[in-house]
Symmetry: C2
Subunit: 556 residues, 2 copies
C-alpha cells in the first residue's frame, strides 16, 4: 500500500504527524469565538481507539480461510485499527460517529488484494456467500460512500482496500492516454506520470488522500476541471470486477455504437463492481501556470464574468469565485493583522474605487503552453475588467495555490473545540445561480439558527463557485457552527435536510462532485425520477443480483 | 410537417426537384467508367412506386380506430406512398431493396402525432397491443435505424413520424441552452435559433434531411464537432415517451448524482422510447468563420498535424483530412479541366516543392469571435507548416463549405448506372489511426476485388479523418464499385462484413456517428462485451418489457 494506514488519522483528516493549523495558543481562537458568538469554546476531544469496543467479527473462520486463500495470510486484516480506519469516510457526519467512539458500522475485516484477479475472486466469493463488500480507496468520501454498511442487521461486511494496486500499466503519448490501476493515490499517480512529462491534472482538494478509482466512482472534479474535466470526462475506459465477471468498457473515442457505458461506471460508487483499472486522458505537463486574483463589487458581477469566460473560447484551467462572506472569512482568518496600516490602506483604496466593505474574490488559473497562457490570461482579465473587477495580480493566486489542499485539516481542531464544519455542493444552470445561492444560503442559515447551543451563538455560511461549464456552474457551501453537544447528529441532519431540500426545490443537483453515498441517497429519487431510478436498479440487478456490492449507497 | 413527404424522394436522397448533379450528358460519366475499369455503364433505374405491390396492412380496423382516436382522422396514413417512404432509411443497403421494389419491410401504417401526450398514448397502445413501433424523424439513417422491422414474421409495424413536433419551447440565453421538440429538421431549427442570435452548430452531412431527435438517438456528429460536440456532448436533458410513461432525464451541469442517464438516451436509437424533446447547448452565432486548405505530402503528416491541433489548446471547429485517393478523386471529379494550363502549373509547383503526385488535402475550420478566430487560425497554420504542409488559403475551404451537404446526391445517379456507392466510419486512438486506415482500406479493396461483375473492373476506396479528439479521431471511408447486378445484396454484405471485421479486429468502433441500427448490430456484442450487452438489455427490458420499441435495432 502506498500510504501506510497507521501513518494516517483513523478518526480525522490527514497524516498523524501533520502540524496542527490551529494550535491551542493560536490567537485565531479568540476571533472564532467572537465570530460564532460563543461564550466559550468547550473542549470536545475524540474518544481514543483503545477506549472503544468494536463489534464482534461476523465473518466465520471458514470464510476468513477462503479469503486468505485468495490473497495470502497477511492481506486479510481483522485488527481493531484496520477495522476502525475503514469504518467510515471523512464527512462531518462520519466524524461525529467515530469521534464519539461509535463504530457499530465497522467492517468485519479488511482485505488488501494485489491484482485484478484477486479482486474478482473476492467479489465472487462475497456474492456467493452473501457478504456485503465495500470498495475503499483513499476513504475520503464525505457522503458515506465507503461506510461499512451491511446488507441487513447482523450481516457481515468486508471492506476491500484497493491501495495495493498502483501500477501505471501503459502510457500512450501519441493518443495521450494512460492505463492505470485504480488503487493509486493522487500524488503517486502524478509523480509517475510527470516523470514521463505527462499529467492527468485531476487535483481535488482530497488529492493527497484519494485514489483514481474513487475519483471515477464518485464522478469527482479536480480544482482545474475547466481544463482537465471531471472524472466522467477524462475516463476513456474502465475495467471492473463484478459478481458476473470482469467488465471492460469500450475505449474508442466518441463512438456511436450504442450508449456509452463508461458513463454508467462514472458515478456507480462501487454498487456495480470494483473498478480495478482505468484508461484516462492525459496531457503534457503544462509549461506555464498562471493563477491570479480579481476583486468584484458583487457576487453577481463575478458570476457574470465566470459565465462570459465559459462562453468565450478561452482555454482556462480554473475559475473560482467566493461570495462576500467567504471572501471576508478567509481574508480575516488568514490575516494576522487585519487592522494594520497596510490593511487599512487597502480598504481605503477599495472604498475610493467604489467597492463595498465586503467584495468578492475570484481566482483564475491558466495552464498550458506559454503563448497560449499569455493570450488566454489577457482575454480573461479583459472580461473581468468589463465586469468592473480590480485585478490583484498573481499574489492571491500563488497564495491559494500553495495552500490548495489544506482546508480540510482545519476541521479536526475545530471539532476539538465544540465547533462543526461541513461542506456541501451542487450545480445549476447559469440563469439559476443567483437564486440557488440565495435559497441554499438562507436554508442553511435558518437551520443553523434553529439549532444552536446557546442564545447569542450563530453560524457562518460561506459559498463559492468552483467549477463552471457552458450551461452552468457549481456552488460549494461551507458552514461553520457551534455544536449542540447533546444532539449533534440531529443538529447536522436538520441542517443537511434543509440544504438538500432547498437544492432540489430550486433546480440544483444533490451533488456536483461529492457523490451520493448514504447521505444523499434520500434525495436521489427526486432528482433521477422514477424511471431513472428503475433503470439504475435494473443495471444493478443485472450485475449484482444479490446486492452485495456497497449496499446502502446510491440507492439507499 | 415541416417537409412535405411528397416533395422528397421516397427511394433516394433529397427533394424530388433537386437538380441532378450527374446528368446523362455529363462528361464525368466517361471518366467514371474509366476509373472503375468498366466496359460500359449499364442503365439500372429504380422500379417506380406504381409497379410495386405493398404487403397487406396487418393493423386491424379496431387498432386503426384507436390510433385515429389519439391523433385524429388525418394523422394516421396507410396509403402506399407514406408506407413506401417510411419503409427504410437511406443506406446503400436500403436503396438496393427499395429501388428493386422490395418493400416487404414497409410499415403497416404511419402515424403523425402533434405533441408529446399523443406520442405517449401511441407508445403505450403499441406496448399493450404488442405492435412494433418505429420512431422516424428525417429517415436519413444509413444503418437501418428506421427500417420497419416487425417483432416477428407477420407482426404489425407502426412507424411514428415525429416531424410535426417542431416547436422551440424555450431559449435560455444566459445558460445558453434551448429546449426544443425533437421532430424539428436541421434547417428549421437553425433558422429559428439564429433569429435569436444563437446556434446549435450541429451540421451533419444529412443536415437538411435529419432531425434533432435522430441526431441524439444515433449519437450523430456535425461537421464542426470540434467546436460544437457530438450529440451526446451537447445534449443537456431529454424527454422520452416510453412504455412505462414519460422519462425526463436530469439537466444539471456535471452532476455527481449517480451515473448520467442522458448518456443512456444518446445512442438508444429508439429502443427505449421516443425522444419527444431535448434541451441542448447553444452558442452565439459565430461572428467569423474561417475555412481553409492545407496540402500535406503524406496522410501520416496530416494525421500528425490533426493530432497536434487537438493536443494544443486551440479553439477549432473542424479538422478534415482526406487521404491521397480521396484528395485525388474529388480533385479530378470536380475539376472540369484537369489537364488545363493552370492545373499543369500547379502540379509543376507542387513537384518542385517536393510533393508527391497524390498529396493529401486538409481543411481546417475556425468559428467564433473575430479575434479568437484570427489567433487560432495562426496557431493551426503554424502547426500544419511544421508538418511540411503547403497553405492553400481560403479557396478550398470556401469550395468545401459551399457544397458541404451535396455529396449524398451523387449516389442516386450513380446507382442508376450500375455503380454502388457506400460509406462507413469508425474511430480509434491516435496511435492506431495509420494501422486502422490501412487495414480497413485493404479489407474493403480486397472484398470489392473478389466481387466484381467483369474482369477489368475495379473499385475505389477513399478515406478521410473528419472528427478528432484528444485521444483519437474518426476515419470515414467512401467506396465506389461496379455492382454485381445479379447478386448486389450479397456483394454489399461481403464488403460490409470484411470492413466491419477489419474494424473490430483492429481496435476501431463499429460506428463513430452513423449508429448501429440493423446493419451494425451483429458487431455490437463484440464491441460492448457480454456484460455491456447484458446491461443494455436490462435497461431495455425495464422500459420496454415486450420489446415493441424499434425492434431489430441495436440489439439485433
Amino acid at each position: 500500500m502506498t500510504i501506510d494506514r497507521t501513518t494516517l488519522r483513523w478518526n480525522g483528516w490527514g497524516p498523524t504527524k501533520q502540524e496542527n493549523p490551529l494550535p491551542a495558543d493560536s490567537p485565531k481562537w479568540k476571533w472564532v469565538e467572537e465570530v460564532l458568538g460563543m461564550s466559550h469554546l468547550p473542549s470536545t476531544p475524540p474518544v481514543p481507539l483503545q477506549d472503544i469496543c468494536l463489534p464482534h467479527c461476523r465473518l466465520s473462520g471458514a470464510i476468513q480461510e477462503k479469503l486468505r486463500g485468495i490473497v495470502g495470510e497477511d492481506q486479510l486484516r481483522t485488527d481493531d485499527y484496520e477495522r476502525a480506519f475503514h469504518a467510515r469516510g471523512k464527512s462531518y457526519h462520519d466524524l461525529l460517529y467515530v469521534r464519539a467512539g461509535r463504530l457499530d458500522v465497522a467492517p468485519d475485516a479488511v482485505i488488501y488484494p494485489r491484482n485484478a484477479d484477486e479482486v474478482l475472486a473476492i467479489v465472487q466469493l462475497c456474492a456467493q456467500e452473501d457478504i456485503a463488500l465495500v470498495p475503499y480507496g483513499g476513504g475520503s468520501s464525505v457522503v458515506g460512500g465507503v461506510n461499512a454498511v451491511a446488507k441487513s442487521l447482523g450481516g457481515a461486511v468486508l471492506t476491500l482496500d484497493t491501495t495495493l494496486m498502483t501500477r501505471i500499466i501503459q502510457i500512450d503519448k501519441v493518443s495521450m492516454t494512460a492505463r492505470i490501476e485504480a488503487g493509486i493515490y493522487g500524488p503517486h499517480l502524478e509523480e509517475q506520470l510527470q516523470a514521463h512529462g505527462v499529467t492527468l491534472g485531476h487535483y481535488p482538494q482530497s488529492f493527497p488522500l484519494s485514489t483514481l478509482g474513487g475519483w471515477i466512482a464518485a464522478r469527482g472534479a479536480g480544482q482545474q476541471s475547466n481544463r482537465y474535466g471531471k472524472a466522467e470526462k477524462w475516463l476513456v475506459s474502465a475495467k471492473l470486477a463484478t459478481p458476473k465477471g470482469f467488465w471492460t468498457t469500450e475505449a474508442t473515442p466518441a463512438s456511436a455504437a450504442g450508449p456509452n457505458l463508461n458513463q454508467l461506471v462514472a458515478g456507480s460508487e462501487g454498487t456495480l463492481g470494483v473498478i480495478v483499472e482505468a484508461t484516462v486522458k492525459i496531457h503534457e505537463v503544462p509549461a506555464r501556470k498562471d493563477y491570479r486574483g480579481y476583486l468584484f463589487k458583487t457576487f453577481a458581477a463575478g458570476v457574470e464574468a465566470a459565465r462570459r469566460i465559459n462562453h468565450a473560447d478561452i482555454p482556462v484551467a480554473m475559475v473560482r469565485l467566493s461570495d462576500a462572506p467567504e471572501t471576508y472569512f478567509f481574508q480575516a482568518f488568514s490575516s494576522s493583522n487585519a487592522d494594520g496600516l497596510k490593511a487599512r490602506l487597502q480598504r481605503a483604496y477599495l472604498k475610493m474605487k467604489g467597492f463595498p466593505e465586503t467584495p468578492c474574490l475570484m481566482l483564475i488559473g491558466h495552464e498550458g503552453a506559454k503563448e497560449t497562457v499569455i493570450w488566454a490570461q489577457e482575454q480573461t482579465e479583459e472580461i473581468c475588467k468589463r465586469q468592473g473587477a480590480l485585478a490583484l495580480g498573481t499574489g492571491p493566486g500563488r497564495h491559494w495555490y500553495h495552500g490548495r489542499f489544506n482546508s480540510p485539516a482545519i476541521r479536526d481542531p475545530m471539532m476539538d473545540r465544540g465547533i462543526g464544519v461541513d461542506t456541501l455542493e451542487t450545480s445549476t444552470r447559469w440563469s439559476n445561480i443567483a437564486n440557488l445561492h440565495e435559497k441554499v444560503t438562507t436554508a442553511i442559515s435558518d437551520a443553523i439558527s434553529s439549532h444552536l447551543p446557546e442564545q447569542h451563538a450563530r453560524g457562518l455560511v460561506l459559498a463559492h463557485v468552483s467549477h463552471s461549464y457552458p450551461d452552468g456552474a457549481s456552488l460549494y457551501f461551507t458552514f461553520i457552527f457551534p455544536r449542540q453537544l447533546d444532539r449533534e447528529v440531529e443538529q447536522w441532519l436538520a441542517i443537511k435536510r434543509a440544504a438538500s431540500d432547498a437544492i432540489l426545490m430550486n433546480g440544483g443537483t444533490i451533488s456536483h462532485h461529492h457523490g451520493v453515498g448514504t447521505d444523499h441517497a434520500p434525495w436521489l429519487p427526486e432528482e433521477k425520477g422514477e424511471i431513472g431510478m428503475s433503470l439504475l436498479k435494473a443495471t444493478k440487478r443485472e450485475l449484482d443480483p444479490k446486492g452485495v456490492m456497497n449496499p446502502g449507497k446510491l440507492f439507499g
